[in-house]
């Protein structure tokens, strides 16, 4: 038995603090009673009601599409920026780029959302595009703020890489682009996929920026959840929340499992 130090006790308390609300939520999603706080027996009726709600299903599909495209674009922009941040000489351009890319990490969301929305209105005014705000504008907005997270994840990986392998490839006559695609990308692949997944979940999750950047044509899942939660606690949302929590945990567990297996394999060789 390890001795219980103050920091270990705090770690356990903190973990309970983080997880207890979610477990209680999952538990109450199987509540038969319409009143969220009164236990009315085990039931899965909220799940079947959830799957009959066309509005929610449409929003899920919209959100998934936006998240997929945003994550892909964010990986491209973020990786390029990370490359500039770690491999380019110190210059004025490099410093402004790294400042701009990390700014969305801390910027309050209402400011980012408001400014992007005003940009789209101005662009529509000046060049007639975008004619209306919808999935495309949400995609642009999400790609921009997700790129910040990708840049941080990828640049920390790029910094740890052994440069001599890339130099060897270039010495052997590979062009910089070919070296990047064939040597660098496979080596930073874990960071790229981590960045993609992070962006995907950030985009799925975002309410504030999506509300500003979206028009009547594109309602994302958080926007629907927010408007129904505002009216009070509803058991249908408990069921939806449970499904989200379980699917994220499953994906995270699988990723961890495969990463550990790959690590074990690498250690055996």
């Amino acid at each position: 038995m390890k001795k219980l130090s103050f920091s270990n006790i705090m770690l356990w308390l903190g973990l309970i603090f983080l997880y207890a609300p979610m477990f209680i939520l999952i538990f109450y999603s199987f509540n038969g009673s319409k009143l969220v706080t009164v236990w009315g027996g085990f039931s899965t009726k909220w799940y079947s009601e959830l799957f009959e709600d066309q509005q929610i299903l449409d929003a899920v599909w919209t959100s998934l599409q936006i998240a997929f495209y945003s994550a892909s674009m964010a990986v491209i922009i973020g990786t390029m920026a990370a490359f500039v941040m770690t491999r380019f000489r110190r210059s004025w351009g490099k410093i402004t780029l790294s400042n701009m890319i990390t700014a969305p990490l801390v910027m309050p969301e209402v400011i980012t959302g408001l400014s992007l929305m005003l940009l789209f209105v101005h662009m529509a005014d000046l060049i007639g595009w975008p004619t209306q705000r919808g999935m495309l504008t949400v995609w642009l907005a999400h790609s921009t703020f997700c790129a910040a997270y990708v840049a941080v994840v990828v640049s920390s990986r790029l910094r740890d890489l052994d440069l001599s392998i890339e130099e060897a490839a270039m010495d052997l006559g590979a062009t910089p682009f070919k070296t990047f695609m064939q040597i660098t990308v496979p080596m930073i692949a874990p960071a790229l996929s981590a960045g993609w997944l992070l962006s995907f979940s950030l985009s799925l999750d975002d309410l504030v920026i999506a509300s500003f950047a979206s028009g009547p044509g594109a309602t994302t899942l958080p926007m629907i959840v927010f408007s129904s939660v505002r009216l009070g606690v509803s058991p249908k949302i408990n069921a939806l929340a449970t499904l989200i929590i379980l699917s994220v945990s499953l994906i995270a567990f699988l990723l961890w499992f495969f990463a550990r297996r790959a690590e074990k394999k690498a250690n055996m060789q």
């Binding site: 770690l11 400011i111 005014d125 929590i245």
Partner: protein
């Protein structure tokens, strides 16, 4: 000039830098310039709902700078109080995150290496599930007939439910809960690099553990404390979702006011002015964060 030689001139290097640079100029820097511009215009019943600030008539460029929005912010108690209470709320919540997060980060950094990845995953996992849903989970817990009140009534600690939902207390809980991982990660990153021999040396020289913590561990992890605090404090100042769902009508937060001005009152110029003043207030913490980051980058290189 032939097309090919033109492409030869634009090298891969330029493209690698140019594409993200252009993207960020267009979708990050330019929008702020527009917010600044609109904050100087006046509201109008039109689409878009504000008067133009530039006007080019008869070869004369007229620029209208309306300072009214800023004067309104100074004049109206509501906005002034909202800024103050946003900063207070963010400060209290950041302190809460630090008090809970520091020992947690310390415990993870001291755990065996195999356990560290699992613990970090456990800390991160909640932040991958929906932010909105985590805030919502607290609504059910904190309400007057919620689980916490029911439990306290049942045990007989209290005879009447305590009002917890729709108070500032609920907002603090919500922010600490939602932002805790952002505090723990940078703290862990600095604590795990901490040279243990320094702590051993301190205890060899007779320092008690509390003294060692204040004089050795804490100063060495200062950069993590700053980064974590800024990652919590800055977004918390502009927080909208948490005060809207957990806070009461009296818990004013500037993010909530901005949202209302924009969506409910459709007063875009005042919303823009609110955003500009918020940014001005956050300039110092944002520069602090960036300075820390720059130093970290140089250390690593």
């Amino acid at each position: 000039m032939k097309i090919k030689s033109l492409f030869g001139f634009i090298k891969g290097r330029h493209l690698t830098m140019g594409i993200p640079y252009l993207w960020l100029l267009l979708f990050f820097a330019l929008p702020f310039a527009i917010v600044l511009k609109i904050s100087f215009s006046s509201a109008a019943i039109a689409i878009p709902p504000y008067e133009p600030t530039f006007n080019y008539v008869d070869e004369a460029l007229n620029i209208f700078l309306n300072l009214g929005n800023y004067l309104l912010l100074l004049d109206d108690q509501l906005y002034y109080m909202a800024y103050l209470s946003s900063i207070k709320t963010a400060f209290v919540a950041t302190l809460g995150c630090l008090l809970l997060g520091y020992p947690m980060a310390y415990a993870i950094a001291k755990a065996p290496a195999r356990l560290q990845t699992v613990l970090l995953l456990l800390i991160l996992l909640p932040s991958w599930t929906s932010f909105l849903i985590r805030v919502y989970a607290w609504m059910g817990l904190l309400s007057n007939n919620g689980l916490i009140n029911n439990f306290l009534l049942w045990t007989g600690v209290i005879s009447d439910p305590i009002q917890m939902l729709n108070t500032n207390f609920a907002v603090y809980i919500g922010i600490v809960y939602a932002y805790l991982p952002f505090m723990i990660l940078p703290l862990y990153a600095t604590l795990v690099k901490l040279d243990m021999s320094l702590i051993e040396a301190a205890s060899d020289l007779g320092s008690r553990s509390i003294n060692t913590f204040w004089r050795v561990t804490l100063p060495l992890s200062k950069s993590g404390v700053i980064a974590g605090s800024m990652l919590v404090f800055i977004p918390a100042v502009g927080e909208f979702v948490i005060p809207e769902l957990l806070g009461g009508p009296d818990s004013l937060m500037i993010g909530k006011i901005l949202w209302q001005e924009f969506f409910n009152n459709r007063d875009w110029p005042v919303a823009s002015a609110l955003a500009i003043v918020m940014l001005a207030l956050l300039i110092i913490p944002i520069t602090l964060f960036h300075r820390y980051q720059a130093r970290e980058l140089e250390k690593d290189l």
